[in-house]
Amino acid sequence: MTRVSGLLSIEVVVDGNQVVDARASGGQFRGFEMMMRGRHVTDAPYFTERVCGICSAAHGYAGALVADRAYHNELPPNGWILRNFILGAEILQNQIRHFYLLSLPDFVEFPPVPPFQGVVGGDYRLGVAATGRMVANYIRAVDASRKCHEMMAAFAGKAPHAHGMVPGGVSVPVTADRVLKCSSLLEETISFLDDCYLPDVETLAGAYPDYFQIGSRPARFYSSGLFRVGPRMDTPLTPSGVLYDGRVEPVDPLFIQEHLRRSWFDEGLPHPAPDPDKPLAYTWSTAPRYRGMALEVGPLARRAVCEASGPPGRTLFPGPGTGTMDRLIARAVEARQIASLIWDLLKTLEPGAPTVAQNPSVADPFVSITVEAPRGTLQHTMLVAGEEIARYNIITPSAWNFSPHDNCGNPGPAEEALIGTVLADPGCPVEVGRIVRAFDPCMSCATHVIRPGRGVKVLAVGQPVGVASSGHDTTQRGVEDARDLGCSRGP
């Protein structure tokens, strides 16, 4: 599959014109969790960034937070504000690139010059004028996304694979010139979102209304709350929770299990090893499940959890549905809200005040944190011996979304979205690419060796600290702030 990060293959079984089964296969494995063993705790941010080049700051954010929890670091305000600013800039970069570079060629006919040659099929519905506008905005998107990374690098050293997020805060001092540079870049980004991204998504939704249904799946979502504030970064700004059966419940990490039957790992205890020849397995991704359910994560999940956490009876927009277009819209709307939020963050920075505060020794040997990456919920869990990492586990958003069939035979979220789809032309299934890319797959992230089926529980036994205190709870303040961030408007 092209226009995804990493190696992904999709296989659908078609009966007549309908997809009756689907398989998502993550094709690569590097073994970051195994590589992390024996390294220093403070290596976590820089090392885990290398998991993913398109959302490296999300792993840096998580890796730095894991180290902070281990050392009991209390970040100065500039430190946690900048962490969120950097993550916000990374998310904006990701969402703009996702829509224009990765998704748009599914819906818009580009001039057939490299790299746009050789497309088979079509179903292009936009007129000449709209197509021309979209192609022109593709070029503008290259520029806009580059500026998001420039904004990020001003405080993070470079992108991808930032240096600025260090244990204890952010290393770059707050100076007026940097704030000014970021303000100006952010202003340009906001203009791009308002003038191009949001209108273009609206145009697409108008031309492809059937895609509000195509790619639908049961409304089961998970969000850990976008952005974390405070000296320990333990308060999420948007609600966290698991949404199923029409209601939200607080996340209980003990209900998270990773199924391995269809993944290329042996199921032996205590350490599952890669087993590339395992019969019946078809992916390097595992199958995380919550109470046995496949949960979708990402912008649509954040919005759905946010909506459902609001006061009863309050409906700001119909839905959200769970179709392909809902995913594209949720990503765009959230990007605009994130831009406003990090604009506010920029204004609260205090030039000259400290940005880093590091404690000298490890105070907590077991840490598990969840944060929101561009693609959804990202969990880093670490067990420390002395100052060395004994165990490190990562559950990525793409592991949730692109998980294979689980031990009970239930498909993963992207597979669910594909199953039931009626293909207009099974010889040229354009629907498949559109459905799958709307999840923003990142297979460099998805494929990790993890602990066996009992999930977090294995590590949690005898180590009560960390999991419960890692900010899963939806606080009142979180809900209030979320009204500004995640719940304020419809498409």
């Binding site: 590097r30 080049g53 497309v119 260090v166 540079k181 690419g433």
Partner: protein
Amino acid sequence: MDYCDFRDLVTCSGENTTAVLIRELNRFLDQAAKPKPPVIWFEANACSGDSISLFNAAGPGLEQILSSIIDLRYSNALMAAEGPAAIEELAAAATANAGVFVLVVEGAIPVAARGRYGIVSWRGPMGTAGDAVTVASIVEWLGSLAGSVVAVGTCATHGGPSAARPNPSGSLGTSAALGRRDVINVTGCPAHPDWTMATLAHLLMYGPPGLDRWGRPTLIYGDTVHRHCQRRSYFDRGEFATGPGRRECMFEAGCVGPVTHSDCPYRQWNSYVNWPVKASTPCIGCTTPEFPDGSTPFFAPLPVKRPGSPPGGHKEGIRV
């Protein structure tokens, strides 16, 4: 543009290196009445970071690179075609341009377990033994047809993070995987877009660039980070930062600038706005063939993480 001007342009990087390169390359292609060179950009076991870094090329950027400079026949990240049509594009591009096309490899080549740690697609039903099309087999095939091979990013050049210990996937750099010594190595995690563009431009205009013993263009990797570091005066006076976020020399905080060859201090990153030491963090040596194992613990001083290093890391044995 004569060669000295080219060299100066690359080594004395202004804010418009890529812009000038693109203009000059266009002029060259016009004068030589040459078609745009066909390029196949193949992503192996990678994080896509080197592609993203190229997308960050500044003034002009990716759009000009694609429209005027290279004929990108295959790119997993960008191409519109998908599924079997994409594989057909790859096969057609490689066979029609055999002996001519530039193969750019991003990411390492996993060779353990017959390459099953990197699977591009399936010939038959998924999961069926023997039907996996592996990264290793495709890179080997493309390598046998390519006119020249450029490895971009430290994973592609020497294994990099994909091959970090204990290297479960048995990942190798391109040169090692292909058994080919003429691979041009553009190291970096990720590679700076100017490094990639300058290398491609050199290849097209003047042929293969001069390489150091690690296969890297000397044009880019001729000097150490330490030599050109803005904080060199702190080092010379023995004023060392005790950790990240301080203004002094980062040597004691883990900097491997003295043994890392790159032009980061004067080139800088992301539209030339910053670089790791300017961001008050240590250089972690991402352009070294040993990265990342030779650089961890990232915040431990060089002699601690590389016990063979001379004390202080600067007086003898290392060209600074």
